[in-house]
Structure formats: C-alpha cells, structure tokens
Subunit: 379 residues, 4 copies
C-alpha cells in the first residue's frame, strides 16, 4: 500500500487533486479491473451522502458536487484504463475567506502549510488543499471500489457514529462492541447523523432529536465538538471476505487501515477491534478462541497477524472538533504578530458526521487494493 | 511513504526478511544519506535494549542478536549504497514448537497465514515470519535512522510505558498528558520496564517493584496482559524538527505514523496527541492557540493538517496481551477439528514492554523518510 | 523511478488519463516544488509544438489541445500541491473509426488490449488509450518540468530528427555524433520537421523541401516510414547539471531514460551516447578520457555507472513507421476470421516527427525526478 | 514496475545490496508466490553460469559465489515471505585495487560516485557498488523468477551473443532476425561464449575457436571490445505466455524491459524486435500481419501497444567494451590533477559475455512481475 502524497493504493490506486476554491477537484482511479458496470450515478449517490447542506448541522455551503467521468469507461463498463473524474467548484465565494489570508487559524493547517511550502504560495481560500472538501474525491474513488467489492465479493462496508461529544450512541465497553459486531449486517445508517439504527442508545426516544438539540447548543456557544466513529466490512449470506487479505510486516491490513483512516481530515485516533481496551485486557479476555464453526468472538477486529481472518473487519476512529469556531481565539499573523480572531463562515459544528461516508470510502479502497495484492501473489 | 509488504519508507527505506527459526533475520536500509558515521555498535546498543532475557518478564529465550553489517559502510561511514545486515538465529530450539505444527493458536497469525499462503508451506516454528522476533530488524534499521536524526537535526526519540494492564504509570487525562509532553526532554526510560522516570505515578514507591509483582501474578495465572505506550520526537536546545514534515492528503505525517505503529506486532490502536479524548472535546478545548512565542498547548500531538508543527510529535499505542498463554483454550487444528490447547514455552507476559524500542525505531524511520521528502520537494 | 501503469516518476510525478475519443484527456503533476511561476501559456506553447495539423505530414485532425489547469497554482505560482489539468477532446468524429470496432489493425494495440482487458470493454475509437493522443498529457506535464529545470538549473532540453526513413539528416557514425554533441547548444529545431539546423546534412539544399517530397511520395504509396531521433539535455553558460544524477543499480539514469523513451508510442529502440556502435568499439575508442578541464570526449552520453557525469546527456530513439496505412493488409476480426483491410483516416506518414516534443518532455520529467532524488539523499 | 535505486519490480521484487569487496553481496526477493519448490541448487546453477574464471576470456578472479538462502523457504518450498540470500565475498584481495583509490578510471563510475556521494566515502575497492559483481544478485533473484515462469507458465528464457566486436555471429538484417526468432526454441547457448548454436555464422568452422583467437588478440593489445546480445522469452509446446502482459502508457512491457536491460552494467542500447532497423522501414515492411493462425511475422518483438502479443518476446542489447584496459590512458586524480594510468588486474576483455545470464535474469524478473500485475487486475 503506497502512501504517496496524493495517491492511495498500490493496485487499485486513487490519485487526488484540487483545492477548496480552485476550478475543480478531481481524481484518477488507476488499476480498476475492467468490466465493472459504472456510470456517474454510481458515484453521485455516494457523493450526495457527504454533501454539505443536508441539515443545519453540516455546513450550509451550496456544493453541487456533480461528478463528471472523463475517461476509463466505455459503453457503461470500466475498460481497465485510468478513470479520470472531476467535480467543479461552483460555490467558491472567495470573499468569505479573504480575512484569513494573513492569519493562521488555530487547529488548522495554515501554519504548517506556510512553513512547508512558503506562505507566499499558500492558497488560503477555504483551507485550499487542506480543506475537507478534498474528501469528496475520496468518496468518489471509494464509490468505485465499493461497487467492485459488492458485485465481485458481496462485501458491504458501513460506517456509523458511536458518540458525538459527550452523547453516547453506542456504549464503548467490549461487550457492547461484540454485540454490535455480530449484528453489523442489520445496521442502517440512513439518517441525518449516520446513527447505527436500530442499535443506538435511546433509539426509541428519538435519538436524532436529541443529537440535533445537543449540536444546536454547541453551535450557539460558537463552539464545536468531536465524534467517535466505527467502520466495518462484512460479507453477505455465505459469501465472505477472502481470508488472508493484507501483507504481513509493514503493510499489515490493520496498518493500512490505520493510515487510511488517519489520513482523513481531523481524525486523531484509530483502533482495530477492541483497540485501546485491549491494553487493559488479559490474554484470556482478548484472544478469540476458535471452533470448527469459526471464531467464538471478534476482539481482534477481524485481523490477525496483519491478515484478515474472515470475520467482520472493524475499526474505530476519533475525530477532533471542527477547528473553525466563531469564539474569539489567540493566534498570530504571517508577520508573527499576536492577533485575536474568530473563524466565521459556514462550518459544521461536528465534522465527524461528514467523515462517515469518507471512512467507508477509505476502507473500500483499502480492501480493493488488498484483494488485488492477494490475487497477484497467492490466488 | 510506501507500505510495501516488507519494505518501509520511500526515501529512507528498510526492507526486512527472516523467520523466527530460520537461518537468520536481516534487512537492507536503502537510501541512507552518505557520510553518516556508523558501525555495528551503533546498531547493537539499540538491539540490546529489546533483547529478551533482560528480566523475568520478557521471554527467557537466549537470543544473542548480534548484528553483522554486510555492505554500505566504508571506512566507518555510510556510502549512500544499501546497508545490508543480518542477525543470525542462534537459539532456535525448534522442538519447543513442534507441537503447534498442526494447531492454530488463538490470537496468533497461524490461521490467517495458513489461509493466505497455504498451510503446507507455513513455517509454524515460533510463529515464523509473524514472530515478534522480526521487530529486531526494525530496531536495527531504526538505529541508523535515529543516529542520523540526532547528528543532523538534533532530534531525539523516546518511548515509554503509560500503563500495564490495570496499573497506571501515567494518568490518561488531557492535563496529565499536556504536562508530560512539555517535559519529554527530561524523561529517562532506562529501567527494566521503560517507565517514564521520574514522572511515573508512585515513582517514589518503587514503581518497578509494583509492576514486577503485578506481572508475576499475571504469569502465575498462566495469563498475559496488554499495555499502553507513548512515543515522542523532540528537538534539543534551540534546534527543532523542521516544520512542515509530512505530505498532505494520503501521506499525512500522522497517517504514516499510524501505519508505522499499527504495523508493530500486537498493536491495536494508535492516537496522535489527545487521540480518542478529542472525540469528546470541544473545539475550544482542543485547538491549540498560537502566540508569537509558539503554540500555547499541544493537543494536536505536534501535527496539523498532516504536517509537523514544530512541537513535540506525540503518539500513543495500545498493545494487546501476549497471545501465547499457558491457560487451556479452545481452538482447531489444520483439519478443522476442535482441540483444547495451551501455549507453553518462554513468552513475555506483556509484549508491550518490548514494543517500546520498536516504537522508537518506527518513529525514527518515519521521520527520516519525511525529512528526505521535504528536502526533495521544498527545501 | 516508478513505472506504474499511468504514473511516471517517484518525486516529480505525472499521472495520466484519457482516451483519444473520450470526454477529455488530462493529468496530475504531483510533487512539483512550490514557487514556480506557471500559467496555462507555459504549457500551451509546448502543446502547440506537437499539435496535429501544422503541416500536411502530420495528421490533419483538428485538435485544439487547449489545456486547462484545475489546481495546484495560486496567484501564478505552484503551491506544492497536485497540479491537475485537462485537455478536452473537441474533434472526436467517432464515425471515422466505427469500421474498426471489430477488426484488429496490424501494428496496433487492438489485439493486445482485447486480450488483456476483454474485447467487450475495448475502446476502439481512434485507438482509445493506446492512441498517440495520450502523449499530449506527457508534453503538458513535461512543460512544467522543463520550466523548472530551466529556471532553477539552467538546463535546456532539445530533441531533433536524425533520419526519416532512408533520408539521413545527420550521419550516424561516432565522429559525426561527437561533433554534434559538442554543439548541442547551437541546435535550433524550430522548423516543420524538427531538423537540427544548421547541422542537417544538405542544410543548404533546402532539406525541408527534400523531406517534404520524400514524405509526399510515401503517403501517395499509402505507406508510412520510421524515424531516428536524438534528445539531449545540456547546461547553459557555466551552469551545469548537478553531477551524479540517477541512482545506481536498477534506477540508473540511463535505465530510467530508456524506460521513459521506450514508453513513447512506436519507439522500438533506445541508445545512450554511442549506443549500438559501442558493441563494435574497442575500449580505447569508447572510454572517455578525463583531463583537469573535463572529459575529452562524450561517447558515454553523459552517464557513467548510471549517474550523470556533468556532460551533455544524450539518447537516440528509433521510431517505427506509423502502423495505420491505407494499403490493403491481412488481419483478423474479433471472431478470429481472416479479413483484408486498409486503415484510412487522417494519419501521419511518419509518427516519429511528432515524437520529438514528447521525447523532450519525457527527458525533462526524468531529470526533474532525478534532481529531487539527489537532493533528498545527497545534497 | 518500480525502479527504486536498489529494488526491481512492484510485485515480484528483488532488493539488492553489497559491494565487490565488502563482506557479502545479497538480496531479498519479496512477493514470490508461495509453494514454489526451491533450494540453493536452483540458484547455484544459474550463478555458476556467470561465474568468473570459466575461461581465459572472463576475469580470472576466483569467486566461489556460493549462495546461502536465509529465509522464505520452508520444507523445500517458498512460503510467500521474503527470500533473503547472501553470497559471501571470499576473494577480495583488496591490495589489487589500492592504486586506484585516488584516481578516477576512464569509463568507470569512480568520477560520478565521487560527485554524488562524496569522494571521502567512496568504496573504490574493485568498483564497490558499481562493480559488475552486483549482477550476481540479479542472477540469483532471476533464478527464482525463471523457475516460477517455467513451472507455472512453461515459459523459457534464453539469451545469446550476436556479435563480439567486429565478429558477427548472427547477421543483423531483418530477415536473419525473423528466421532466428522462429527458431528460438532450438537455440542452445551452452558453450563458452553463449553462442546461439547451431545458428551461429560459421558454426561449422569452430566458431568458438574463432572468437577465442579474436579475444586473445584484443587482450594482448591491452584492449577490450563490446558485444551485441539478444534475449528472448518463449512458450513451449502449446503453452504460451499469457497475452496482454504489461501496462499501457508508462509501464509498457517494452519500457520495463528497456529499463531492466539498460540497468545492466555497460549496456548502452536496447532494441525491441526490429529496433533501430524499424526507423528505416516502411509500414508495409514493419507491421506484422495477422491470420487466424497467428501473426505472420514478428518485427514487433512480441509487444504491441506495450502489451505482449503472445509471440516470442525479443530484445537486443549493446554492451560497451570493458572499461578496464591495461593501455595507458589520460585521467585525473581526486585533486583534479592530470595523471596517466593503466587499469591492471584480472578483467574480462569483453564484459558482454557475462552479461548473457544477467539479461536472462532481468527478463525473467520483468515477466514474473508483469504476470502478477495481470493477475491482480485482469484475470
């Protein structure tokens, strides 16, 4: 698995380009197997899931996010050549951001980009390349991987929210996780906050309303809040993920998943299976025993020795609070002078919510790549 | 950053080979800058830190782990050509492991290797390629990176234990972490359990003794236990890490660190800075404000937008309990028949302890690679 | 130097996508150093040099080849983030090609694409991905590399025609080459056939006219013809290429140049310096002696041991005749039935001519990458 | 296909290390499919073919070249994990080379290594890393690829000498090549100079004797001479190479072969099929017509559009004369002072001869990699 700056994957590769307020963002999927049915709608429906403006808790910018496929598809099928696509930036409104041209916003990449590339070439408009807008490209590329996984291996990928700030949707003890992991196939995240219905805590008490009110309060305080997500891959019916996906040592499947997830904007932690709980567990608690009918538990998150075990693959993510908050904060400008500033504009109070389809996309890209590696060497 | 199966890095690359009970393990460091003073002692002293048999809490196998440099060094300096090295396996005692040739040990890679590569070619002796013995190669390669970082950039890398099972050495709230992060330069991990002296909880009450008794109890119960580690990179005096290390989007510095750490045997979780705490934080808590004298806190773990900020780089790791336990467990054999088995032999009750120098090595390799990337494109 | 299917380079990377008759072709330049002045004109002027329709000897299709930069440039400078660009396909005229949907044209990639990817997904329109139209993307990416090389290292790159079919423009003995190599800086290829004026044989006899008549005859015979090219990189004034570019062993500079050139459509041979002549030379003839003022000859083509020597870097290319000829030829259709067919349409009688700017682009990309590698490890 | 400095291949990867006079040279084959029968003899017999000292025309140094496999093989089969191997340097005789510590030998890499890495770290002993001794590692790695190709795809690879200096063994016109290409399966190169018996010119006149006398004369003149080689891959019986190997655009099969061959020490030119002849051919001569029974000729060298066509894959190589000659030559020392020097010692008068098994190894590595790529994406 290559982690080149702007290319993800060794076999099923996604190269990404584009800034928040440039002409367009886009990508190139190279290595996609030929013969997959694909049209723009397949990608569009995934893009629509991460689209801003779907509720008042995600940024109100109007981003149409209409994908155009430029190459690699002929007569409705992938040809095996690179699939180039673009998404034009239609709602750029650069003036919204002109006030931050000379100020480094706390929690943002402004400061580090300025030092790496030189401040004189920094595209400060909406975060430029560091904007979460870039994740639309991942969702687009991931949509292709998702379709291939489903049609060829009947693998489904789903992500959901475990908690938003201090509101727990799913309990974080090992038992609750084990129960949920057994029922992943029944999770339905088609709701405003990607909650894992019907397994959410207080599901009967209109949990969506509860979250809505909580986020409303956060926003009114000019603040933002973090979130905890899970993402899982599971087979349907008697079709399963091939066992042994991943490459031992440096490209362990969990290592690649960790990189894939940590590369998503604002992610600060990744766990596989029991994750940090395992640091307090005994061997007798953590090790998944085996029977002729399969594993008796799934504390490992479906990965042993860096290779998939045939169980549900499971990762958890910590997403930090949206860095852009309208509260007054201390910072510096490009002349290293102290300033006080507030980041106004249209921002999600909780970026973690929009990270859900992105996590799905990244897991899909990771697995497509791993399957192709396995085919090349072992199958 | 490439995550090829057995090669780590794109610029400063480590290729690793070898099984636990083969003739030798070894590696090739390709891309090391020329002119670095290097001899076998530089590597040996790091290898000695992870050597088994240093206490009764790490496996009692006698592994001499004597490194031999085969190439790439001339007249005491690196030449810029590949540095090949081997570590012979002197204490193989294959008979210890013959009983597991036909059984898949719970928590181990036996099952997944058998499915990926075919059971008929699986090297079951001591875990073969999946053995933690492979991490000696990482420590050897990392020793070269560490030396280069120190001599050229005055960067130091240190890891330590935060908790072992239920024993907390360092409190895990955000405040305790912020205090420790400010004092990383003063941490001394030269003790039996890599405890962060003098900052350990109960340091005055002989914390080593306390840990020793705890692990003794675990071992007598034929059990094992997990651990929580931190690893940090910091500059000395007024020399600092170059700001802006890492590559935005897929090869973000934190993404590469996540992969590097998750690729270490038994690691199940990785956090950068506040990590999972950030999922419950408010933006006003998490965002590090900036002053003309620098950042006012370091919740980010020294990385913003995937690029290093010039602050201490900080990651936390969850290590699962040693999978090999002498307690009777249910499993299957290679004919898919149910068996009961216990894994006897010489095993660490807590593999997390020996992961400490490995984590240091992986961070060193990651940073050496990132510095070279930054030089190539931006400096 | 990575030779991934559709990405060239490890540091200064070009990813290419697009088919001859799709919506657009395009590319992503990833890794370009920040701070380079760049606008669409810089790319357009190179594209215009390979544009079809400039004479009756290059295909009469109207390809506007207008490049649009989508990202990676801000306020007229490269930002260090990926430079995405597209070139729309405006003159697609698919009907011209519909007759070849079911026939494999001799000398073309039709047959091999059908076997690799499956004939049912083959984009037969104008050769699809195998069309030389793809080289426009290389010229666009190469334009950026060329500009960077010139502005930062004062390196110039030039290619020219040595012979077209049986017409020799430059004699191919070692002495003639040595003389030309010393005078590369004075070559001006700004003429219809990229002839190396004023060094062409019969330059005084209106060599352009001679070539024109020759190609006219070839075309009237419904035939096509091959060509021999050279491409060279040289420093200006007392500014020189850094010595030691390239990486010994597999990524020798000459190995990468060989791959770069052989990857151009229709190229069947690559030589460095004296090339195939050296297989008949004595050591006393071939070895370039050295004096305190520099090398006394340049049979090596500026590369020794895979590293640049500071002399003019020099490669020769053999380009096969355009495979599309209007003469009746034997072939098969997709049902493996024998057919007789002629390839009509607008085709260059000598594709070698349009390969000239492409060869320049590929050498520029190769050198930019090599310079960045050298900086990363050695400088 | 990756051309990393010391790693070749993306799927079937060979990493090489070692200097001519260091402790050992060696390599790591990563990605080899599991289940291939392999022991040291399989490698040794290929190594013995390139061993120095087999005649008076190859260097008389005693290099035992005994390969030791360190990992990746268990119970006689490859396990799918990295195959580490070393070849100890037993006949180092460093004093032979001490006179060249301060002098740059014409035609050698001394000058360029000194400039790239710094002269103070240059391993001048026997050329260090630039020595052709490194090719033993390629032959060892290639032996594994060869065995896998033969056992799994019944592909055979053979190389031979076309000419040595001015002695033609095979005529170089297109017709002679076409005849030989049809009879590749009958070539037997098991003779002192890897001549393509029984197809050599003057085969009945004891061509070995003729070559022997010619080289004797060259050597007595303190001179050396170049050579021209071919290397081919062909299927046996009705088993054929899979059609469509290679990746269009940058990693065309011919581009990768060109890089593989040009990366061999002293190679200055590579042709595919008709190569440079094609620059003078008409389309009607060059294009291979197709019939329901297959192609009617093979001017393309078995590659169309960068993908294998199912015909014999064919490349030609130009090897320059051995740079080390005992004739007095002008050069400079490390202080840029003019010197006169002769390179004494045990050197092949024609390095091209020993390049034959190396070319076979590189083609085997290239094809193994291409087959795995094809499996991953298309099969």
């Amino acid at each position: 698995m290559s982690l080149s700056a702007n290319t993800f994957g060794n076999f099923f590769k996604l190269t990404s380009f584009g800034e928040s307020h440039g002409v367009a963002i886009g990508g190139v999927v190279d290595g996609c197997p030929p013969g997959l049915s694909l049209d723009e709608n397949d990608i569009q429906q995934e893009l629509d899931r991460r689209k801003p403006g779907t509720s008042k808790f995600v940024t109100q910018r109007k981003e149409d996010d209409k994908v155009e496929i430029l190459s690699g598809v002929f007569n409705g099928k992938t040809t095996g050549t690179p699939i180039g696509f673009i998404i034009k930036n239609t709602d750029q409104r650069s003036k919204d951001y002109s006030n931050i041209a000379e100020i480094f916003r706390p929690g943002h990449a402004d400061f580090t980009y300025a030092h790496k590339y030189g401040n004189e070439v920094r595209d400060y408009r909406g975060g430029g390349r560091a904007s979460a807008r870039e994740t639309a490209v991942r969702v687009a590329g991931g949509a292709i991987a998702k379709k291939w996984l489903l049609e060829n291996y009947q693998i489904k990928i789903i992500a959901w929210i475990n908690s938003i700030g201090t509101i727990k949707i799913i309990n974080d003890d090992a038992n609750s996780k084990q129960q949920l992991i057994e029922n992943v196939a029944k999770i339905d995240n088609k709701n405003l906050f990607f909650l894992p219905m019907p397994f959410a805590e207080n599901a009967e008490k209109n949990i969506e309303n509860l979250v809505e009110n909580y986020l409303d309060g956060i926003r009114k305080q000019c603040n933002s809040v973090g979130a905890n997500l899970s993402v899982a891959a599971f087979g349907v019916d008697n079709h399963k993920l091939p066992i042994g996906l991943g490459s031992p040592v440096f490209a362990k499947l969990d290592a690649v998943i960790a990189a894939a997830m940590m590369s998503i904007n604002a992610v600060k932690g990744v766990e596989i299976g029991d994750g940090f709980l395992s640091s307090q567990q005994l061997g007798s608690e953590h090790n998944d025993e085996i029977s002729p009918d399969g594993f008796l538990s799934n504390h490992s998150g479906g990965i042993l020795g860096g290779l998939s075990s045939g169980q549900t693959i499971w990762a958890n993510l910590a997403v930090k609070p949206t860095p852009s908050i309208a509260m007054m904060r201390r910072s510096i400008n490009i002349r290293n002078e102290a300033v006080e500033m507030r980041t106004t504009g249209r921002h999600d109070p909780c970026v973690g919510i929009r990270a859900v389809p992105v996590a799905e996309a990244m897991l899909a890209l990771t697995l497509a790549d791993a399957i192709m590696q396995d085919k090349a060497q072992c199958k």
